[in-house]
């Protein structure tokens, strides 16, 4: 047993007196029924958050979440039960409930020996909560506040939050594989409200990833977040109403990659495509983007918020090319959908916690760099919108319609970025929006580590990224008619 697997067994199983023998006997119970696959997902998570407002860290919280999810699948059916006690009798009860999805009569033999998934090594198994003294965490937030306030006297409110989680997981599968992972995740966020002549606007920035709090201090990242939040808020103080209608849109690099997440990412998830409910169903090999566009999902990037050494089903993550020079190549798969559609899993089986059923989810989704100078892309536009920061987005995967909302955008007039405009929702059609991408910049960038994706009530951390892009026509939902 490797160091990681040993360490995770020690943390999750030993306190409950559960060993490989008990695990084998639980798996044998499951496999008394006619299943195709079953797994146990053990999880222990510690989470903390500290929040500052009005110059003071007034509240903090600490949460412990632990439990085991038991899943049994037969054909397209999934039986699922969980226990928030890691105790043998509770596990046995969950096993009994989950397996009733199938008929009794075993189809294959329970594993007698366990093998170990060779996991990646993308982050250190550290405990972020212990990476700074509590007093230092408070001081970090106070520094962020001071940095924000000293930028400009118009800063009226500063809200900052620091959070960290350490998630220890063990996946035990009916094919005899075990996979373990210890996942740190930290996040620092700053929101400011500025005021001028009775008008108020806000700006927000932050970042994070699978590392320790120390990383926020090392390169002055925390202070940079504060300055960026103030800058955005001040830009918005000058913003005039956004235009309404279809126009050319230039998206900035990095976080605007939420475009890819909404417009195509969700629509390429394996569950929707197996069921034929996605606007992308049955379109592998077809053109869904211009030649300039190559889009990947990559859970194997070092230290990124959306990265995983193994996914939540024990499959190592990988780089999956979704769109290659405009042609749709691949969907994102978990084990169930890969099995049912006869393709290989892509390491995208994820779940919010032990109490949730895994499904195909994105990790870090981004477009590769193109050949155009970003400045020349803007110069090529007569009249349009230049959008560099966004709030959230959403998609209807069946009709393909998606939205994402700007939080920092400007008008482009005669090839020049002129004045800022208020937040507006952009709406488009996923399967054809990328066919109208005519220029892709050379400035590919990933987001700072702030994304959270929701699907069927489950939230998971994700990343996005892209270079500067020109979309020939996208509907901008402002209030100002032409």
């Amino acid at each position: 047993m490797s160091g990681m697997l040993r360490q995770v067994h020690d943390a999750l199983l030993d306190p409950a007196g559960i060993g490989d023998g008990e695990i084998s006997s639980l798996m044998a119970r499951l496999l008394e029924y006619r299943l195709d696959f079953a797994d146990l997902y053990f999880q222990y998570s510690r989470h903390e958050s500290w929040t500052l407002e009005e110059g003071q860290v007034k509240t903090g919280s600490h949460n412990i979440e632990q439990g085991v999810g038991v899943r049994a699948t037969a054909g397209e059916k999934t039986g699922f039960a969980y226990s928030d006690d890691i105790l043998f009798p509770a596990l046995l009860e969950a096993v009994t409930a989950a397996r009733t999805i199938a008929h009794s009569g075993s189809s294959f033999v329970a594993p007698s020996a366990w093998r170990q998934v060779r996991a990646l090594d993308l982050y250190r198994p550290l405990d972020p909560l212990a990476s700074l003294e509590d007093g230092e965490k408070v001081k970090l937030l106070e520094q962020v506040e001071v940095e924000a306030r000293r930028q400009d006297p118009r800063v009226k409110q500063v809200m900052a939050s620091l959070s960290g989680v350490q998630e220890t997981v063990l996946v035990v599968r009916s094919d005899g594989m075990q996979a373990a992972d210890i996942r740190p995740l930290v996040r620092l966020n700053v929101t400011v409200i500025v005021e001028q002549g009775g008008r108020r606007e806000q700006g927000s920035h932050g970042g994070g990833g699978r590392f320790s709090y120390q990383d926020f201090l090392d390169h002055g990242a925390a202070s940079a977040y504060a300055r960026e939040a103030v800058r955005q808020a001040l830009v918005n103080l000058e913003a005039s109403p956004a235009p309404a209608g279809t126009m050319k849109v230039v998206l900035g690099p990095g976080w605007p990659g939420i475009l890819l997440h909404e417009a195509i990412g969700h629509g390429l998830e394996g569950d929707f495509n197996r069921k034929g409910t996605s606007a992308f169903s049955g379109r592998i090999g077809e053109r869904v983007a211009s030649d300039e566009c190559t889009v990947v999902d990559d859970g194997s990037l070092s230290g990124r918020r959306g990265s995983l050494n193994v996914d939540d089903e024990g499959t190592p993550t990988q780089q999956t090319v979704l769109i290659e020079k405009g042609i749709l190549r691949c969907y994102l798969q978990d084990l169930l959908n890969a099995r049912l559609t006869g393709v290989a899993p892509t390491g995208n089986g994820r779940r919010e916690s032990y109490a949730h059923i895994p499904m195909p989810r994105m990790t870090n989704t981004f477009m590769l760099a193109g050949k155009h100078d970003p400045a020349e892309i803007i110069e090529s536009v007569d009249r349009g919108l230049y959008a560099v920061n966004f709030g959230g987005g959403q998609v209807d995967i069946t009709s393909g319609k998606f939205v994402f909302s700007t939080s920092e955008a400007y008008l482009i007039e005669n090839g020049r970025v002129t004045r800022p405009v208020k937040g507006a929702t952009l709406i488009g059609n996923g399967p054809d929006v990328l066919t109208r991408v005519t220029r892709v910049g050379s400035d590919m960038r990933l987001d700072p580590g702030v994304g959270t994706c929701g699907k069927e009530g489950q939230s998971v951390p994700v990343g996005v990224g892209q270079p500067t892009l020109l979309i020939e026509g996208l509907t901008v939902g402002g209030t100002q008619g032409a």
């Binding site: 860290v57 919280s61 949460n63 412990i64 632990q66 606007e201 034929g276 709030g391 959403q394 929702t425």
Partner: protein, 450 residues
């Protein structure tokens, strides 16, 4: 398939949770806290999904949890755990106490004032266990989905029908002497199908939810409406950019009121992060609009006899004749604003906008020409400025009649103006949530399209 029924939460569990909360409060005081509050909960349930006539998932849920906040004078810390064993409980109190040592003293922090706490806890009839068992739940979901699939030849695919039944018990107590328990059930049936024709695919859904299974809409009705709502969206067009009246169908109209709640919530006000700052006793809605909070409705989905701090909840007008009469406050934000808590720690309870006389066809006639919105997507709402811009789908209406479905458009405005431009509220009240509203007609918005 074997029947795996779900057991009722036994009475002894309530006693055990009461005891646990009491112990946690004592432990906090033992560890030196000057005050503490705690809540403990257990819940269990069953959800099944049937897709294309076959079982897709059978999910058994069972959760428990404990949360505690400790006060050392004006410093506070919180912690929670899903492990209710004695050692874990002590560690949780210790974790909260440890955080409190590092937080700043805050004059406004602390428990709700003793005189605001609920003295009696009325039975609001929220607990109606059902325990259908997986087989019965599957049978209902199968029937529902079949109705939807048989309703129209264009319904060619499905995301399935789901039945879920959950029950939970929560106990809250604090060192000002409050200890209250609340048990509640929630059952639902939903169905989502996909229709297809040459123009492409559309998906839509319908659902019903209630405290008591006898109050659910029939599975035939849910299936039929899911199919109708899906098929009517086929061949949707894009509209050109224009100014237009907009009618929000009741199921999406509630979002407008939730934006209002976001702006009159204490935390938005004391942070000065609201477009409704300083609007108390001023006109924020069109004349005649009444928003009414009814926390004690029997079987109500938002009903609660006390809020998350043990404060008695009370019936009140939040808005009457368009004028803002009160805020949505917990004790912390109330103290920050120099006001009294309104019993809204955790949110509002059954917020109702006074319905008008017109049903949906009546409102369509009244609008004459404009946009009927049936779906909104995205998060383009700014509570600080009131700026509003969201993706929409629905129908273009002329002469009071639906002409054709529309999609890939946005509607935008500022909530301050939108609230004042409410022309009518429908009699078609949607009772499926904590916000109860009929369809809402707005005078004018900017629609962006091609």
């Amino acid at each position: 398939m074997r029947e795996s029924g779900l057991a009722q939460i036994p009475v002894t569990t309530a006693d055990r949770l009461r005891g646990l909360v009491g112990e946690v409060l004592e432990e906090a005081l033992r560890q030196g806290a000057s005050a503490a509050e705690a809540s403990a909960s257990v819940s269990q349930g069953l959800s099944v999904t049937v897709r294309l006539g076959a079982v897709e998932t059978v999910e058994h849920t069972r959760d428990k949890g404990l949360g505690v906040t400790v006060y050392f004078g004006k410093q506070s810390g919180s912690a929670s755990t899903s492990d209710l064993a004695l050692k874990a409980v002590r560690d949780t109190v210790r974790a909260a106490a440890s955080i409190a040592r590092y937080t700043a003293a805050d004059d406004c922090s602390g428990l709700a004032d003793a005189e605001s706490l609920a003295r009696s806890i009325p039975d609001l009839d929220l607990y109606h266990p059902w325990n259908p068992g997986a087989d019965r739940a599957i049978e209902i979901a199968t029937g529902c989905e079949q109705v939807a699939r048989d309703a129209d030849a264009r319904v060619q695919n499905s995301e399935g029908a789901s039945v879920s039944s959950h029950e939970g018990l929560e106990v809250y107590g604090n060192t000002n002497g409050f200890l209250g328990a609340l048990s509640a059930t929630r059952h639902s049936l939903s169905c989502a199908v996909v229709a297809r024709e040459a123009s492409g695919m559309q998906r839509d859904y319908w659902y019903t939810v209630a405290r008591d299974v006898r109050d659910l809409e029939s599975s035939e009705s849910v299936g039929r409406r899911a199919a109708e709502r899906t098929v009517r969206r086929l061949s949707a067009q894009k509209l050109t950019t224009r100014q237009t009246p907009v009618l929000y169908e009741a199921p999406v109209a509630s979002s407008l009121l939730s934006h209002f709640i976001g702006a009159v919530r204490g935390s938005s006000l004391y942070r000065e992060a609201s477009f409704l700052l300083g609007q108390l006793d001023k006109a924020v809605f069109a004349p005649g609009v009444r928003l009414h909070e009814q926390p004690h409705l029997r079987k109500g989905l938002g009903s609660a006899p006390f809020d998350n701090e043990g404060v008695e909840t009370r019936e009140r007008d939040l808005v009457s004749d368009g004028i803002l009469r009160g805020y949505v406050l917990d004790s912390y934000s109330a103290r920050k604003l120099g006001m009294q808590t309104t019993g809204n720690a955790g949110g509002v309870h059954n917020l109702t906008i006074q319905p008008g006389r017109d049903d949906l066809p009546g409102l369509l006639a009244r609008m004459h020409t404009g946009l009927l919105v049936t779906e909104l997507i995205g998060f383009g709402v700014n509570t600080v400025t009131g700026d509003y811009s969201r993706g929409a789908a629905g129908f273009w209406v002329e002469n009071g009649q639906i002409q054709y479905p529309v999609e890939e458009i946005t509607i935008a405005g500022n909530l301050r103006d939108m609230f004042r431009q409410i022309v009518a509220v429908g009699a078609d009240v949607d009772l499926r949530g904590n916000i109860r509203t009929g369809s809402i007609l707005l005078e004018n918005m900017m629609l962006a399209g091609s």
